[in-house]
């Protein structure tokens, strides 16, 4: 009976075991590429760039973005195996800091992608989220009348991404004279975004604009607006430009969304860590860029 367990384990491990070769880069993502287009694009960027540069790449991620110990364990295990560079999007910047320090002490080159880590002197490659959120705010300003009621659906503001998008949108919306009636968190979650939006429109029937810090919350909010027959009067801009959101933009429901460039994160990550390995130096922050996605260009993101 016990042999069965082994046979199963051996079969699966055996099927995927690969031979090691010269230079290996670990790409440690927050969540799995399967089922999440964002991480799938990061993975594609990394693997294509690695193939181009002729290095091996190992892409790993914890099963969910909240499974911090799993990501730490993956990095430790790959360090034991021996990698030359690490491109990592930390699930929790503080909790990952000790193992990143360990890697650096081992002489392994490290860069952060998507989320800035807590370790000093490590280059961050990702979206300037504050800039992206101002871009969205500017678009709302141009499309609703001055002084109108608007709301912000925040992500988790204890994370740098959540905070940057909250700050960028707040500054942008208040600078053009809009009346921010609510700033609440939907914790990046679609169902929570829906519930928070329901509460906001109950208290603010004259709402004219919404910035959702990610598309998931934005799509949840759209459901809430539809149920309340308010979708026509509310101009909603999301963030991330995931395929569902692009479809929603094309359908005329979500007004716009902001696209990050996850492919660049993967590709720049590999390129930058190779620069470090060969003795070069990097800027502390490398912006991968943002672009506004509206009816005109949404097809590209669908």
């Amino acid at each position: 009976m016990h042999k069965l367990i082994l046979a199963a384990a051996a079969g699966i491990i055996g099927a995927v075991a690969t031979a090691a070769s010269a230079q290996t880069i670990l790409v440690s993502m927050k969540g799995p590429g399967a089922g999440n287009p964002f991480w799938a694009a990061v993975e594609r960027g990394a693997t294509e760039k690695a193939a181009e540069m002729g290095v091996d790449v190992v892409v790993l991620s914890p099963p969910t973005e909240s499974d911090v110990p799993a990501q730490i364990a993956q990095v430790e295990d790959q360090l034991a195996k021996g990698v030359d560079g690490i491109v990592i999007a930390p699930t929790d910047p503080n909790a990952l800091a000790p193992v990143i320090d360990e890697a650096i002490a081992d002489g392994v080159s490290v860069v952060f992608i998507d989320t800035k880590g807590a370790n000093e002197g490590v280059t961050y490659i990702g979206t300037d989220n504050q800039m992206g959120a101002s871009l969205a705010a500017k678009h709302i300003c141009e499309n609703v009348e001055e002084g109108a009621d608007v709301a912000i659906l925040q992500g988790i503001v204890t994370q740098s991404t959540g905070k940057a998008r909250a700050d960028g949108s707040h500054e942008g919306l208040s600078a053009c004279g809009l009346n921010i009636v609510a700033e609440q968190t939907g914790e990046w979650d679609r169902a929570k975004g829906l519930a928070v939006m329901e509460n906001i429109i109950t208290g603010n029937p004259n709402l004219k604009g919404v910035f959702a810090s990610n598309d998931n919350m934005g799509l949840g909010a759209i459901e809430a607006l539809k149920n309340a027959d308010m979708l026509d009067q509310v101009f909603l801009v999301g963030f991330d430009a995931n395929p569902d959101a692009a479809e929603s933009v094309l359908a005329g429901e979500m007004a716009a969304t902001v696209a990050q460039n996850p492919y660049n994160m993967g590709a720049f990550g590999i390129e930058s860590v190779l620069t470090l390995i060969s003795g070069g130096s990097l800027d502390p922050v490398i912006d991968t860029g943002t672009v506004l996605v509206t009816m005109e260009n949404a097809e590209d993101f669908n």
């Binding site: 082994l6 491990i13 034991a80 910047p93």
Partner: protein, 346 residues
């Protein structure tokens, strides 16, 4: 390792001679089966990653990665021995960890901050025990499910849901300190303190459960609570102690994880109650209470750690880890079912 009288449940040697081979092997597999599985798994992983798997660094990684689950699992085991369950351990871990991190940031002296994690765990476990016995909750599931939410909420409340990082070395000692043993073949050999601590904890629990009156009571309550009551065991008091122990161990796990990550973070321990239950079941404990051994639980924790480590080393997606662990849980319980069949059919 001697099984306590309550959990052997197998006939005397003479009568066993007449039984089929499968039945006669049961006690052997009960005691050593898990070690065979571990050795065999190790052999497979060594064959796949000969340069890495048995390296000192990888071996110590496995222990570092499994230590927190090891603490939760041994506490969970004591609870499951009484035919109970504690769903709150993951949240209690977070509560202990966040209390520690927040109080440290607030300038509380480190010995106090350090002790706060296990003490919060103990308090949460004590409340669980009171709820299950004195408030007569219909099943430990209910009380500890309530505690799962309360402890998580309390952890977020005291921290504002914000991570706190930067802990002093004495607090990090248990989770991250290493003892330098010397240099062999040009590599520095360090022994993680948490490895020694895990061995010590499991040894103490082995004494407690398999060699003390308290341990016999725990097994007896799980075997048959009414009989235990009639034979003069104070079931309520024993159960309160059992849940307090489980909570205390969750607090210890929080201390270890805080040291390992140099922080307290709000998501800590999410879902870890299920990992602990999985380790206990894979380790051969009966969900109906009264049966299982400390060595088995150690094995269960190690098996979960080995699966994750082995798959990580081979760059396998974590989805496979989940599938494999799930399959092994079902398989482990199926083996238990077969074992019961064999034990009762003749």
């Amino acid at each position: 390792m001697t099984a306590s009288p309550e959990n052997s449940g197998i006939e005397s040697p003479e009568s066993m001679q007449k039984l089929p081979l499968g039945v006669r092997l049961i006690p052997f597999f009960d005691r050593y089966g898990i070690l065979i599985v571990i050795v065999a798994m190790g052999a497979v992983m060594w064959a796949l990653q000969p340069d890495v798997f048995l390296s000192w660094r990888n071996i110590t990684n496995i222990f570092k990665q499994t230590a927190a689950n090891g603490m939760l699992s041994i506490g969970m085991f004591v609870v499951i021995l009484t035919a109970g369950i504690d769903l709150s351990v993951g949240s209690v871990l977070a509560l202990g960890m966040m209390t520690l991190a927040v109080s440290n940031a607030a300038g509380v002296p480190w010995p106090v901050a350090l002790a706060l994690s296990p003490m919060m765990g103990l308090a949460a476990g004590f409340v669980n025990g009171i709820g299950i016995t004195k408030l007569r909750m219909p099943h430990p599931f209910i009380m500890t499910l309530g505690m799962l939410f309360m402890a998580r909420g309390l952890a977020n409340l005291i921290s504002g849901g914000v991570p706190y990082s930067g802990l002093p070395d004495p607090i990090r000692f248990l989770g991250s300190a290493r003892i330098y043993l010397g240099e062999f073949d040009g590599t520095r050999i360090n022994l993680p303190v948490v490895f020694l601590f895990t061995i010590l904890v499991y040894f103490l629990f082995w004494i407690l459960l398999e060699h003390t009156v308290f341990g016999r009571r725990v097994y007896a309550i799980g075997g048959n609570p009414e009989a235990a009551r009639v034979s003069g065991i104070n079931v309520d008091r024993t159960l309160i102690i059992v849940y307090a122990i489980c909570g205390f161990m969750a607090g210890i796990a929080g201390l270890i994880m805080a040291g390992r990550t140099n922080s307290g973070f709000p998501n800590a321990g999410t879902g870890m109650e299920l990992e602990a239950i999985a380790a206990v079941i894979i380790g051969g404990a009966s969900f109906f209470g009264g049966r299982g051994q400390v060595l088995g639980i150690f094995g269960g924790v190690l098996i979960m750690g080995l699966i994750k480590n082995g798959l990580n080393l081979n760059n396998v997606s974590t989805f496979w880890q989940q599938i494999l662990i799930g399959a092994i849980i079902v398989l482990a319980v199926f083996i238990d079912v077969l074992r019961r069949d064999l034990g009762t059919r003749h």
